[in-house]
């Protein structure tokens, strides 16, 4: 690791954070879709969905938070893609700058941007009647899971960001990720689903993550869900990181 790694990462992080503050539309568009879904599910479909939970907004917020992150990382891929295309990535790589700083700055920016979007969505949920009796520890756990989840998806986003040929290609990978929470326990209990769908829903990563966050919000025991959730997040993070670094080395030797 270069002796300038931290300093250079800070400088480059400042640069991409400035991008975000100058085009806050990326945060707003990231937050608008999940908010619209939340409004629709709570005020249109919610009345007909039987979840056994007193408040539907309480029930579905965890799933909405995951969708927020999944749509937010499309911008991570987009920002990286633009740097690659514009040649500024090459400029940084040909300078006496810590090389991995360029990538890490994007990853940290993704984290900051997604946390802001999550905050905005959370605020709207509160206005819509979301309430939680969770204590400090539970809130910290929720934050920790969301940070891990964001980092895992961010490293996935790095791969198309580095290798995509077109702007559409750079962000298209996020659609299945946005869709994944629908095939989980996020909006309806999995018990209502037909056999094969149920089997998929109960064993895919977002179900355990949603269940763990939901249990933390409602003050229920988290059981094994939280360990399964953490295992998924860390597993995806490690695999995505390795693949992203391999892509990176292939692009910049």
């Amino acid at each position: 690791m270069s002796k300038h790694f931290f300093g250079d990462t800070t400088v480059l992080l400042g640069r991409s954070l400035r991008h975000i503050t100058r085009s806050p539309d990326t945060i707003i568009t990231t937050a608008i879709m999940p908010i619209a879904m939340m409004l629709m599910f709570v005020y249109v479909f919610g009345g007909a969905i039987r979840t056994g939970s007193a408040s539907y907004v309480n029930y579905m917020l965890p799933g909405i938070l995951l969708i927020t992150v999944a749509s937010g990382i499309a911008y991570t891929a987009y920002r990286l893609f633009m740097d690659m295309k514009g040649g500024i990535f090459e400029r940084f790589q040909s300078m006496p700058t810590a090389r991995s700083s360029v990538l890490w700055a994007h990853v940290l920016t993704s984290l900051v941007a997604n946390l802001i979007s999550l905050g905005v969505v959370m605020l709207v949920a509160l206005l819509m009647g979301f309430r939680s009796g969770a204590g400090v520890l539970a809130w910290l756990s929720v934050t920790g899971i969301l940070i891990l989840f964001t980092l895992a998806l961010t490293w996935i986003a790095v791969i198309p960001g580095l290798s995509a040929k077109t702007m559409e290609g750079a962000s298209a990978f996020s659609y299945p990720l946005i869709f994944l929470p629908f095939l989980s326990s996020a909006f309806v209990p999995t018990a209502t689903m037909p056999g094969p769908v149920r089997a998929f829903a109960e064993n895919q990563p977002t179900t355990s993550i949603v269940n763990a966050i939901r249990a933390l919000f409602t003050g229920q025991p988290v059981g094994t869900d939280i360990w399964v959730a953490l295992a998924w997040c860390v597993g995806i993070l490690v695999v995505a990181y390795v693949l992203a670094m391999r892509t990176y080395r292939r692009k910049i030797s």
Binding site: V11, R15, H19, S23, G87, F92, S94, I252, S253
Partner: protein, 254 residues
């Protein structure tokens, strides 16, 4: 470590293939310190690949290259301290202002007083008034000027300019040429690639023609001209070129 006598760039037997496509097939050349060297070739001749290898962005399959005395493969960090790359597309950050772009590069080169460096360069490249504006609002020529200004930060002894005037209008082209001449006057070694013959003729001390992955000729303009039969004297009516007309009408002196 390096003496004034060693060439700024030494390239020996450079080869690079992309899968089946052999882009460079044994490239050899040297660039003397403080000179302007033009790598001339049509699209796809391998100019950009050569520049990328010299600026440590690509690894060569075979052959060696030294820049400022450092091997690009084994002493990449030293090479990066010695060079600046101005790529084919003006690599400026569109969302930042011109001044912020300069400050960013100065910080990444770990220099003291980035603000002053930025202000000095803005002035030198007549961008002071535009310095506070987002570069997305700049014209092609202004972007290129800023791009070159970014490359000068830290006074690297060797500068690579990859097709610096492609896509620019004639005025902007002259502005860039002016900037390159100033660099040469200050003793910076410049390697530029171009597909424009007149650009090489205008700027370069030596010209090498890269064709199908090999350097087919390498010499001064006078030497290259001697490769053809001696000049015949012909009397031709001196017509202004369209470029002369255009530049006169829009009021810029070449």
């Amino acid at each position: 470590m390096t003496t004034q006598q060693t060439p700024a760039i030494q390239v020996h037997g450079l080869e690079k293939s992309y899968k089946e496509l052999r882009v460079l097939r044994g490239v050899n050349f040297e660039v003397a310190r403080g000179s302007v060297f033009a790598l001339l070739g049509s699209n796809g001749a391998g100019k950009t690949t050569a520049v990328k290898i010299l600026s440590t962005l690509l690894k060569a399959d075979v052959g060696t290259a030294r820049v400022n005395g450092f091997d690009v493969a084994t002493q990449a960090a030293n090479v990066r301290e010695s060079i600046s790359l101005t790529g084919q597309f003006a690599a400026v950050d569109e969302i930042l202002s011109g001044r912020e772009n300069l400050v960013l590069v100065a910080r990444l080169r770990h220099l003291k007083d980035p603000g002053k460096i930025a202000d000095d360069l803005l002035e030198r490249f007549s961008l002071t008034d535009a310095g506070g504006r987002k570069t997305a609002t700049y014209s092609g020529g202004m972007r290129r000027r800023l791009d070159i200004a970014m490359s000068l930060i830290g006074d690297p002894p060797v500068i690579f300019l990859d097709e610096p005037t492609t896509g620019l209008d004639p005025q902007a082209r002259i502005e860039v040429w002016q900037a390159v001449r100033e660099l040469a006057d200050r003793g910076t070694t410049v390697l530029l690639t171009t597909q424009y013959l007149d650009e090489a003729e205008q700027l370069a001390d030596r010209i090498a023609i890269l064709h199908e992955g090999r350097i087919i000729v390498n010499g001064t303009l006078a030497e290259l001209k001697q490769l053809l039969p001696p000049a015949k004297v012909e009397y031709v009516e001196k017509q202004p070129t369209l470029e002369d007309v255009f530049l006169t009408l829009v009021g810029t002196k070449a």
